[in-house]
Amino acid sequence: MRKSLLFVLSASLILTFQEVVISRIAFPFANPSIFLIFIISWAFLEEQWLAALQGFLAGIILDISPLSVGVIGHWAFVLAAVSYGVSELGVQLRGSRRSPLTLTVVVTAGIFFTLIFFVISGALINSNQGYGFMQTVPGVVFWSLVFTPLISPLIIKVKRAADGVGTSVE
């Protein structure tokens, strides 16, 4: 429970950092999504059911973010599903899940699928975040390739600390 609380707190802070700092820097192509890198990385290192729950909570945070204009529940749906899938993959690759290269490849692929899934599900629920959002996908994926190796050691450390908290409580 405390682990999830720490996750929610970290996710909220990272989302705020994303909205206040990262989004205001004019990166070429598109802005990197530090928030998604964090969520997918975390999910890759987490157990499936917890990954799904944390993905859902992260999605809710994103949905109710003041800067969000989409339908509430949309990001929760997408991130719960993707986090579960990524976690399932992490369990399969248990031996190399903390390797920076594996993490980078999985997170980049995870972000790509998240965005595609978001667009497709958005089209199904008649959300108007389609074509424009799609244009940013290559840029976001490119920056996740750049940023994941840089910030993954920090995410792994936070995750380990959270695991320590979690095991002592649960």
Binding site: S12, L13, T16, F17, E19, V20, V21, R24, I25, A26, F27, P28, E47, Q48, W49, A52, L53, G55, F56, G59, I61, D63, I64, S65, P66, S68, V71, I72, G73, H74, A76, F77, A80, A81, Y84, I125, N126
Partner: protein, 315 residues
């Protein structure tokens, strides 16, 4: 293990169903989405302010770093555009000046009823040659002949020295070898103005007893057959009179009406008018500046009478 997986899948399904329920509720308008976002904005605002205060000082730097390439391109494009505009503006200004000069020369020619050929100065004799000559873009093909007068808006400028098919060379009035017979405005006193190599000319009067004053204006007297000089063309104004006691001639310094270093458009007089314009071509005389006079009124007061001294009274 199998139980865990089944439990995870069940949990995932529950979360997905919850999400779909939220989506449905929000789409139907049964979810206070705006209220929720307002609450999240209120909760998140202290964190936003914190990150903002950290980020603000470096925002300009990061903005500059990330837009370095674009900024450089933009600067380069703007510089190109700026230089093109500057060139356009200077060309426009040059044309404007030429039009102004041409208008004034046409006005002068019109007043004197001269037939003229407008010309543009295309070269100026170098200082190394010690001669003040100019090259014009008109020649014999335009009816230009040797010894014709050249005027600008203010008056006389030069005379033609040599002519080729499409250009001609003229001697400027301030050249030391240049001489023109002149007449003083109103008095009609005759004299000769010659160049000094500087910006002013020298006037020598033939009659040393004649009256010569600063401010008197000088016009060309006219040569025989009106070549090289036509009568009535304004030359300049006297700025200084040289008084030498016992000299046979009187001399003065004349400032030409035309600034010979700042002309670009001139006109060659190709045929004279039938009548002598006399002083009609001179610019209107400058209005005399009124001298301020001060009148002091003094009220006379009664003069005090001397009082008799004590010693006097004693006597």
């Amino acid at each position: 293990m199998g139980n865990d997986k089944a439990r995870s899948r069940f949990f995932l399904s529950a979360l997905l169903i919850t999400s779909l329920l939220l989506i449905t509720l929000d789409l139907r308008g049964n979810l206070p989405s705006e209220g929720l976002r307002k609450v999240s904005a209120t909760v998140g605002s202290p964190f936003q302010s914190f990150f903002n205060s950290i980020y603000r000082p470096v925002s300009t730097f990061t903005g500059d770093v990330f837009s370095l390439g674009r900024t450089r391109n933009k600067i380069s494009n703007l510089q190109k555009e700026n230089s093109a505009l500057k060139e356009q503006l200077s060309r426009k200004n040059a044309i404007k000046n030429e039009v102004k000069e041409l208008k004034s020369v046409l006005d002068l020619a019109g007043a004197g009823r001269y037939k003229i050929v407008p010309a543009r100065i295309i070269a100026v004799g170098s200082a190394a040659s010690f001669s003040r000559t100019i090259q014009l873009d008109v020649g014999s093909a335009d009816g230009i002949k040797k010894d014709m007068s050249i005027i600008a808006g203010g008056g006389l400028v030069a005379r033609i020295l040599s002519v080729s098919q499409n250009s001609c060379i003229a001697l400027l009035m301030d050249d030391e070898t240049f001489k023109v017979g002149v007449r003083l405005e109103s008095t009609g006193t005759l004299g000769v103005v010659s160049g000094t190599g500087g910006s002013e000319l020298e006037l020598i009067l033939l009659d040393s007893t004649s009256d010569l004053r600063v401010g008197q204006r000088v016009v060309a007297r006219g040569s025989s057959n009106s070549q090289p000089f036509l009568p009535g063309v304004p030359v300049g104004v006297i700025t200084e009179v040289n008084q030498t006691a016992g000299a046979l001639t009187k001399s003065a310094v004349v400032k030409p009406f035309v600034d010979l270093n700042r002309i670009s458009v001139v006109a060659v007089i190709v045929s004279k008018s039938k009548t002598d314009p006399r002083d009609a071509l001179l610019p209107p005389p400058p209005k005399p500046i009124p001298t301020p006079t001060v009148t002091v009124f003094v009220t006379p007061t009664s003069t005090p009478s001397p009082s008799p001294s004590v010693s006097d009274s004693k006597q």
